[in-house]
Symmetry: C3
Subunit: 370 residues, 3 copies
């Protein structure tokens, strides 16, 4: 608990940890209080995510560059993965797919936009490494295209294609995971020095945070993952009921609510870096976690659905999702193309995000309506 | 009239002012001569626009940077606004929406393309400030995405959605206007120096033009606005009839004819700057006036339709318009990404514009057919 | 044959020339052995292409910069053109259109991706002239937009539009050819020095290859073109049968198989340049040959269809093709925007290409199904 207290010192979010026991008690005593359960589960997931990423970083720092980088990369989207797995087991495929596309859109527009706004309110003009941003932006664009464009090419509505769509989805997932593994070989293996700067930044960041020893971090990692899984179950159960009572459509819930909750810890890190005028880190987190959703989380969910879900989940997205994901990644590329930022650039990214959110709230896409 | 004579000296267009009395006389004597009325009203609007922008600049120059900038920004698209308002009052929503999307496409492809071509025919290679162009291009992309992409996301064709579509359109309009106001705070307030170069260019441009005193400019501004409004009424009435007799579809009229007529004065300024090897100014006018259509003209028209139109106008665009606007803004970004230009770049932008115009002329989109 | 032996020395592909007599013999003895004929015709076309481009370069080198450039530019895609003409004469318009769109996608993603991968496996990091790449990328984007976007704008499905679609296609073709001719005026005329660097690179490349004298090159050019035309006939006849027996859809055949076979010689040149760390040349070949398909091959096919095909071919593409072509050219722009490359960038381009190929293989688009 000493380590926890120190960690809390660095992150005021951890006070929210009191919501964790509260959500379990409420679930036990009043399982139908969906709105309360929804609010409490969101309040629980956020600090658990913060602890999870702290524990991951602590282990990563002790295991050397390669394994550490691997851990960070693989566990970085653990919360998204656990939430999505819970929804997957319940067979809520539309929610899972909306949250995959929504995570890319939210990380690109909201996480980056809010970083640029928060940074820009403190600094008149901020600059970042434009060549690195273009490389990461290019990777993000390629990753999202490989994930999302097949839905726009194939004739998914043809009768009698459901088996074919599943075969295609498994093939696409294998391709995406192959690209992910080769990406790890690239960034942790052959071209490690290339990413050295970013790693040094992250290292400096970790130092400030009083890392835990492996003896503390590993058990914490295990316990927190179980807690996140348990709370996710309550979250996924309650979110649809609560959404209905707030007048939200399932598309809005998946795209916006689940995506923001799932990436809360990364957002905090990106915002904090922007406030410290380290935009390279903010851009790296926003673009990197979006890429990882496309190359790792999405295909893993498809392949795991073969094992844990009632039926197999496919990788087809409705046309509106294809448009939003493509436009979001293009938008990020445009916004980071000059290597300079001021607060208004953040405002515009947030306005685009708000128009998407408003549209999903008011006019849910066909097939995603209640 | 002395001021006018001097202004005419600088702008040979003003000889066209003789068309203004001619159009009113024709309207009185031969109200069914639609083709003559159409031609005369176009010939009248062009010089009136030139006077209008000269008067605006004269007032702006006298009122200091902030208010002057505000005036220039807000009155810059006054002609487009007045023409669209006339069509709005007549309930011709398809024409208004086509002219909104068409103004973005025309300013991006035709105004910029013709500037690059005219400049390139005089100078072997022209350069412009690539960082400024990227910033303006990024803003334009974000603005058009916020305006146009919601039409591609929401399920607009669902039965019983007309009330919801109107609510959504009003919400989107408020968001766009908020972005516009924050953009003014940014460019005229917190980051005025950032745009100082461009302003100095504009100032140099004004100087050459023998600005009017406020005592002349303000009354001219009022009188000309009324004249533009009166001529616009004749233009909007006659354009559809004349179009039919020329074999033009309403989509072509809104997208191409109204858009070119509405932006004639800005085009003249952009072309002139390009011929003087000041491409920064041409790029700024083309990208800036496109952004302003998306962030200011379009939402103002939606909100005013609540007051002056028979029913409220919404902000939904047909799929072809979404594609054209997105592709046009992407095209401009690509074309200005290298900071260098030669005549062939202008040719290619004009070829893209011509393929769009030809398609609209020959194959009008569904829902826009006569 | 001495010249041929020397050429073979530089290009091990030429051993494949033994397939040329083999394919004619097989065609004569066993005209129904479609799979064998397909394999032999592919094996024949590849070395014939290599000879063709060598002969073209030899003639071009002797005829001075302007005419040489003209020859290179016009004959560069001769194989694609001959194959497509054969399919055109047989009235297989879907195959022709799929191969046009497929050539752009294949040259952008596969040719460039494989070049970056092969180059990156030998060199840790490769750089190329980013300003040239952006210019070429901009031209490619504009050319493909002019070719492909009209299909997404016009209301092609309206009843009774087939005559109108043909008129439109002829108009678009004339516009594209005009842009092509002006492009030649630009690159070989007014702005020749601008492209001087690239030309010098090509010249260096030619020198190594022991160019033929005009007395050898011209007859070779004629004979080989006739041979390519004869083999193409066998290829086009057999490809559909062979595809069916391999389980390939016609969309896959047109998009992937024909596109790769048609550009094999250019691919060899691009890969070879990348292995020699001359990425500027690889990027130039990939982007240049894609642009040429859009501006030259496609409109020429439409206009020739008026003469040689049973009915006129139009220029409408199915929505999936529009998406793939736009996304591919955007992808190339993103991938070449930083001017730096390492092997993983190539992998990602190939992954995107593989997802497209897999989708077309498994889920053929409507209207392209068998």
């Amino acid at each position: 608990m000493h380590a926890l207290a120190r960690a809390r010192h660095g992150n005021p979010l951890l006070i929210l940890l009191v919501a964790v026991p509260a959500v379990f008690v409420t679930e036990h005593l009043a399982p139908d209080e969906h709105t309360a359960l929804f609010v409490l589960s969101v309040l629980s997931i956020v600090p658990l995510e913060a602890l999870l990423s702290h524990a991951t970083e602590s282990v990563a720092a002790k295991t050397g560059d390669t394994i550490g980088g691997l851990l960070n990369a693989t566990l970085g989207n653990l919360t998204e993965l656990v939430i999505a797995l819970t929804a997957l087991r319940a067979g809520m495929f539309n929610l899972v797919k909306a949250s995959i596309a929504g995570a890319i859109v939210t990380n690109s527009l909201f996480m980056l936009g809010m970083s640029l706004l928060l940074g820009g309110l403190r600094y008149r003009e901020q600059t970042f490494n434009v060549s690195m941003a273009r490389l990461q932006g290019g990777l993000l664009f390629l990753a999202t295209v490989a994930l999302i464009v097949p839905s726009a090419i194939g004739d998914i509505d043809r009768p009698g294609t459901s088996q074919t769509v599943h075969d295609l989805s498994i093939g696409l997932s294998v391709l995406l995971l192959l690209a992910y593994v080769l990406g790890l070989v690239f960034s942790l293996g052959t071209h490690r020095q290339f990413f050295a700067n970013a790693a040094r930044d992250a290292a400096a960041h970790e130092e400030e945070q009083h890392l835990w020893s492996v003896g503390v971090a590993l058990p914490v990692l295990g316990v927190i993952t179980v807690l996140v899984a348990l709370v996710s179950e309550i979250f996924v159960e309650s979110v649809q009921h609560a959404a209905a009572s707030f007048g939200m459509t399932p598309a809005f819930v998946g795209f916006i609510v689940v995506a923001i909750v799932g990436a809360a810890a990364e957002m905090m890190a990106a915002f904090k870096a922007a406030r410290k005028n380290r935009l390279d880190m903010s851009v790296g987190i926003a673009l990197g976690s979006s890429s990882q959703i496309a190359l790792f989380v999405a295909p893993v969910l498809v392949l795991l659905s073969l094992v844990i879900a009632p039926t197999a989940m496919d990788l087809t997205f409705w046309p509106g999702a294809v448009v939003m994901v493509l436009v979001s990644t293009l938008t990020v590329l445009m916004a980071t193309n000059s290597g300079r930022s001021a607060w208004y650039l953040g405002v515009l990214l947030l306005v685009v995000y708000a128009t998407f959110a408003l549209t999903l709230y008011v006019l849910p896409p066909a097939g995603m309506s209640p």
